[in-house]
C-alpha cells in the first residue's frame, strides 16, 4: 500500500460535503417541497395491546382518512429469518384487527398542512377492546400475561442454543460467578427523524419516494413486495439524511402507506416523524437480559461461560434485519476475542407489546461487551488481581492471528493485549490507584474502569446467508465514469449520512487514479442513479464501497493508459497516473485526464484501433478476500469521580486505544470514535426508554429521554494502533460502530471499582443516580443482615 499522497488514503482531508450544511443548504426530506403537496399524520394506538372493534372516520372527512381496509392489495411486512424455528409476524402498515404496541399506526390522515392532518387524526374514533400487555421480556416467555401473536402459542420469535457440557467446570472451577445483567431499552434518536415524501410520476409509471433512509435499494425491494409494483416502478431517493445509527435501516409502514397514497391520490404527499412519535411510537433498541455464570481458575484464566440471554424484540419482526438478529447474535459473539474451552449460551428473542427493535450502532455488541466485561471485572475482584490482568491472561495473542474463537468467529488480525497495555499506560493506572486510596478532596470516590471489544465490520455473504434474512450482501458495485471534462464520477448504492463518503471515496479514487478529490463526484443514495447495494450498515462502506471504487478506478486507469499511450506513442507500462494527469515515467511529458477523456468523447478518430469499446465507463464489483468480516477493536480506559451521596458520576479522563487497520481519513475516523463514544456514554449513564406495567412509554420528550450534551461528554484521548486487515483493499477495517460499544462496560466497571469498598455492585445500565444509590443501599442492608 502506498500512502505518500496528501489527498489519498491516509490523508486528513477536509470534507467536501461540509459546505452545503454550513450554509443551511443541506437537503433533508423535510426541506423538499412539491407543488400541491399534502401532509400526512397518523392516528396511532394509545394502548399497548387491544383488539380493534371498530374504526370510525370523522364525519365529512371520509375521503381524507384511510385505514388498512382502504389500502386494497397492500401486503403486510414480513421479515423472515431462515434460522430454524423462527416465527414470522405480519406487520400490516395500518393495524388490522389488533394493535400490539402504543403508537402503532391505525389510520392515515391527509390534509393541506400537518396541523390540519393532526386535527383529523385526533378525530378518528377507534373502539379498542383492551388485552393484558406483555411488558417484561423474561416473563413474556416464562409466565406470559397474554400472547402477542395468538397463533404462535408463546411469545418467542426464536430460540437459539450453543450447547456445551459445563458440568466439570461446575464441579471444580475455583472461581464461579453468577450475575443477572440488564441493559435498558433505548431510542437511537438521530437528530433528524424519519421522513417520507412520495410522488407518482405518471410519465414514467413510477413511484418516486424521498425517504430519510440508510439502505434505499432495500427499501425499494421491500416496497415492491408490499405494494405489488415491480422494482423498476419504484425509485427511492435518500437525500441528505440527518444521522441514522441503525434507526433508518428499515422498511417503514409509513413508506408503504404513503407510496399507496401518492399513487392513488395522484398528489405528492409527505410525512415527517416528530420527536414525540419517534419516542413513543417508533422503533427502539438494545434491551438485553443476561443470566450469566463465568467459571475461572484462581489466577483469572477463563474456563467457560454459561449464559441465558433474552432480548426484548418488541411486537414485530422488522424488514430487513428481522426480530432475531440481535438475540441470535448475542449467542455467536459473546465470547469475543477471549479464549475459553467451554461455552454454552441459550438465547431468546422475546415478543412483547412494545415497539419493535432495530440494530443500533454496535448491534448486540454493546450488550455482550457490557455483560462479559462486567463479569471479567467480577472475576478480577474475586481473584484479587487488576482487571487488566484478567484481560491479558485471556485475550487472543497476536501470534495466534488469524484466530477462530470458540463460536468460529474468524478474527483477521490485531494485537489485543497491546491495546490493553497501551490504554493502561496512557491512563496512568498506578497514579490513579494511589489517588484512589484517599479519594478526592471533595469526598467523591475514584473509580478506574476498562473494557475491550471487537467490532466485526463488512461481514458478507457467508455470514448473512446463515441468518437467512431478506437481505444478504454479495459483491458491492461501483459505477464509474471519466467525464469529458476529466471529472471522475463514482456511483455507489450505499448512502452517506455523516460517514463522510463523499470525501473518503474521493480519496480512494485519488489513490488509484491520481485524480484531484475536488474533481471526484460521489453519487449515492438513489436507486435510480446507483448500482444495487444493501446500503449503509454494519460498518461496511469504507471496506465495501471503498473496495468497489478502487476496483472501478483501476479499470479506468487501464483504459486511460491505453488511450494516452497511443497518443503519446509510449508503452502503457511506462505511464503513471498522478496529479490529474497521465505522465510518461521519468519525463515531464503528460496528458491531463481531461485531455484523454476529450479524445474518447470528442475525437474518437484518434483512438487506438484496439481501444476498449466500453470506453471510460465501468461497473466494477468487489468482495473482500474473505467475507467473514474485518475485526477492529479497542480498549477504553477511564477514570470517574463518584458521588456516593447523590449517585452522580463524572468522567475525569478517558483514553481509547483503537486499531482500525489502515485509516483512509484519520480525521473522519476520530470523528466516528468521538461520536460513537458520546452515544456509548449516553447508554452508560443517561438513556433509557422505560415502560410501565400497561406497556405505556414513560419518556415522550427529550427532557425525559436524556441525550448526552456538551457538558456530559468529555474529549477522549485517542491512540491509534494499525494492523491492516489482510482481506481488504488497503487494509482498512470497519470502525463506524466501535465507539458506541465499549463505554457502558468501561464506565460501569469504573463505578463498580469505586463502589467495591462498599461491597456494592451495579449490573444494570444506565447507571442513573437512582440505580447507583440503590446498589449502595442494597449493599448496606446486606452487610447489616
Amino acid at each position: 500500500m502506498k500512502s505518500s499522497s496528501t489527498q489519498g488514503v491516509g490523508a486528513r482531508l477536509a470534507r467536501k460535503e461540509d459546505d452545503r450544511y454550513l450554509r443551511g443548504q443541506g437537503e433533508f426530506v423535510g426541506d423538499i417541497h412539491r407543488p400541491g403537496m399534502l401532509e400526512v399524520a397518523f392516528a396511532r394506538s394509545p394502548v399497548a395491546h387491544a383488539r380493534i372493534v371498530s374504526i370510525e372516520k370523522p364525519a365529512g372527512a371520509e375521503d381524507r382518512v384511510f385505514t388498512m381496509e382502504d389500502l386494497r392489495g397492500v401486503q403486510p411486512i414480513r421479515a423472515i429469518s431462515g434460522l430454524p424455528g423462527f416465527k414470522p409476524s405480519d406487520l400490516w402498515p395500518l393495524a388490522k384487527d389488533k394493535v400490539r404496541h402504543v403508537g402503532e399506526p391505525v389510520a392515515m390522515c391527509v390534509a393541506a398542512t400537518r396541523a390540519e392532518a393532526e386535527d383529523l387524526a385526533a378525530q378518528v374514533f377507534v373502539d379498542y377492546e383492551e388485552l393484558p400487555a406483555v411488558v417484561d421480556m423474561v416473563q413474556a416467555r416464562t409466565a406470559p400475561s397474554a400472547l402477542v401473536h395468538e397463533h404462535w402459542g408463546d411469545n418467542v420469535f426464536l430460540e437459539t442454543l450453543y450447547d456445551d457440557d459445563l458440568s466439570a467446570a461446575k464441579a471444580s472451577a475455583p472461581i464461579q460467578i453468577r450475575r443477572h445483567i440488564r441493559t435498558a431499552r433505548q431510542s437511537m434518536a438521530p437528530m433528524e427523524g424519519r421522513g417520507v415524501l412520495c410522488e407518482w410520476n405518471t410519465r414514467l409509471g413510477q413511484l418516486e419516494m424521498y425517504s430519510s433512509a440508510q439502505m434505499p435499494h432495500i427499501n425499494r425491494a421491500g416496497l415492491s413486495e408490499c405494494l405489488g409494483l415491480d422494482q423498476g416502478a419504484i425509485r427511492v431517493i435518500a437525500p441528505d439524511v440527518g444521522g441514522g445509527f441503525g434507526y433508518k435501516g428499515i422498511l417503514l409502514s409509513e413508506e408503504i402507506c404513503l407510496g399507496w397514497l401518492a399513487r392513488n391520490l395522484h398528489k405528492p404527499v409527505r410525512w415527517l416523524e416528530d420527536r414525540r412519535e419517534q419516542l413513543v411510537a417508533s422503533t427502539n433498541c438494545r434491551e438485553h437480559d443476561y443470566d450469566i455464570t463465568v467459571y475461572a481458575e484462581r489466577d483469572g484464566k477463563l474456563i467457560g461461560i454459561d449464559c441465558d440471554a433474552t432480548v426484548d424484540s418488541g411486537a414485530y419482526s422488522l424488514y430487513p434485519f428481522s426480530a432475531c438478529l440481535e438475540a441470535a447474535q448475542v449467542g455467536s459473539i459473546l465470547p469475543g476475542p477471549y479464549k475459553m474451552d467451554h461455552y454454552r449460551c441459550h438465547t431468546w428473542s422475546a415478543c412483547t407489546n412494545k415497539p419493535p427493535i432495530l440494530p443500533y450502532r454496535g448491534v448486540a455488541r454493546t450488550g455482550v461487551c457490557f455483560a462479559l466485561e462486567l463479569m471479567l471485572d467480577a472475576v478480577a475482584r474475586e481473584a484479587n488481581i487488576e482487571p487488566f490482568e484478567v484481560r491479558l491472561r485471556n485475550l487472543v495473542q497476536p501470534h495466534e492471528m488469524p484466530f477462530d474463537n470458540i463460536t468460529k468467529k474468524h478474527f483477521d488480525s490485531g494485537d489485543y493485549p497491546e491495546s490493553v497495555r497501551q490504554a493502561i499506560s496512557a491512563i496512568n493506572l498506578p497514579a490513579w490507584r494511589e489517588k484512589q486510596k484517599a479519594g478526592l478532596p471533595d469526598g467523591r470516590r475514584i473509580g478506574i474502569g476498562l473494557s475491550v471489544y471487537c467490532e466485526q465490520g463488512a461481514h458478507g455473504t457467508s455470514v448473512y446467508a446463515g441468518w437467512g434474512i431478506p437481505m444478504v450482501p454479495g459483491h458491492e458495485q461501483c459505477f464509474a465514469r471519466l467525464s469529458p471534462d476529466g471529472v471522475f464520477e463514482v456511483r455507489i448504492g450505499a448512502q452517506s449520512h455523516g460517514q463522510s463518503l463523499e470525501t473518503t471515496l474521493a480519496q480512494v479514487a485519488n489513490e488509484i487514479l491520481g485524480v484531484d478529490p475536488q474533481n471526484v463526484r460521489v453519487i449515492h443514495g438513489d436507486t435510480g442513479l446507483t448500482p444495487y447495494s444493501t446500503g449503509t450498515w454494519g460498518s461496511r462502506c469504507m471496506v465495501m464501497s471503498g473496495g468497489a471504487v478502487a476496483t472501478a478506478s483501476k479499470e479506468i486507469a487501464v483504459r486511460v493508459k491505453k488511450i494516452a499511450g497511443k497518443i503519446m506513442e509510449v508503452a502503457e507500462q511506462d505511464l503513471v497516473l498522478e496529479h490529474g494527469a497521465v505522465r510518461v515515467a521519468g519525463t515531464d511529458r503528460s496528458m491531463t485526464l481531461a485531455e484523454v477523456a476529450h479524445i474518447w468523447y470528442r475525437k474518437p478518430q484518434l483512438l487506438p484501433a484496439d481501444v476498449d469499446p466500453a470506453g471510460l465507463e465501468v461497473t466494477a464489483g468487489y468482495k473482500t478476500l474473505r467475507d467473514s468480516g474485518t475485526f477492529s477493536y479497542a480498549c477504553h480506559a477511564l477514570v470517574i469521580a463518584l458521588d456516593t451521596a447523590l449517585g452522580h458520576s463524572e468522567i475525569l479522563d478517558y483514553v481509547i486505544v483503537e486499531d482500525g487497520g489502515t485509516l483512509v481519513n484519520p480525521m473522519v475516523v476520530d470523528g466516528q470514535i468521538y461520536g460513537g463514544t458520546a452515544q456509548g456514554i449516553g447508554t452508560a449513564l443517561y438513556e433509557e426508554m422505560p415502560y410501565d406495567s400497561e406497556g405505556q412509554p414513560l419518556a415522550s420528550t427529550l427532557a425525559d429521554y436524556m441525550l448526552p450534551g456538551p457538558t456530559e461528554v468529555p474529549e477522549p484521548r485517542i491512540v491509534h494502533m494499525s494492523t491492516p486487515s489482510p482481506y481488504t483493499e488497503f487494509g482498512q477495517k470497519g470502525i463506524g460502530e466501535g465507539g458506541a460499544i465499549a463505554p457502558p462496560a468501561a464506565i460501569i466497571n469504573a463505578i463498580n471499582d469505586a463502589l467495591a469498598p462498599l461491597g456494592a455492585e451495579l449490573t444494570t445500565s444506565p447507571a442513573s443516580p437512582r440505580r447507583v444509590l440503590a446498589a449502595i443501599e442494597a449493599a448496606r442492608l446486606r452487610q447489616a443482615a
Binding site: D18, R23, E27, M191, R275, Q499, D670, G709, V713
Partner: protein, 161 residues
Amino acid sequence: MAVNKKPVSFQVNGRTIQATLEPRLHLADFLRDHEHLTGTHIGCEHGVCGACTLEIDGVPARACLTYTVSCEGAEVRTIEGLEHDPVMVQLRAAFTSEHALQCGYCTPGMLVTARDIVLRLPDADEARIRKELSGNLCRCTGYVGIVHAIQKVQQQRKVTT
C-alpha cells in the same frame, strides 16, 4: 378545524414579512414551509435540542417555541441571513477544519449558538464553551470538533483585533 387567523408583520433576514397566520404556527414551521428557508431545522419541537436556533432581535432563540404571530415588529435572522457575516465565515471554515459536523443536521443551530459564544464570550474557556453550548444537541460528533472550532475562531479573532 376553523381557526381565527391573526395578522403579523416582522423582518426576516432584512426582508419585511406581512402575513395572516394561524396562531398555533410556530416560527420554524413558518420559515420552512411558508418562506422556504429550510436552514432552520427541527429536531424536537419542545425546546430541548437546539436544532431550530436562530436570532430574534440579535439574541439566539428557539424557533420551535416561538409563535410566529408573537413576532410582531421583531427582526429574525436565520442561518441563510448570516451567509456573509464575517464571524460566520470564520466559523464555517473552522467547522470544516475541525470536523465539527457529520450529518450536518444540528449544524445551523450550532453555528448560530457558536457565533453568539464567540461574540459575547471571547475569553470563554473550554468548560464555559461547553456550558454555553449545552442547549444544542448533536448526535454525531461527540462535540469535540465543535468545541475546537469555537476555540479556533476565538483565537483567530484575538490575533486580528
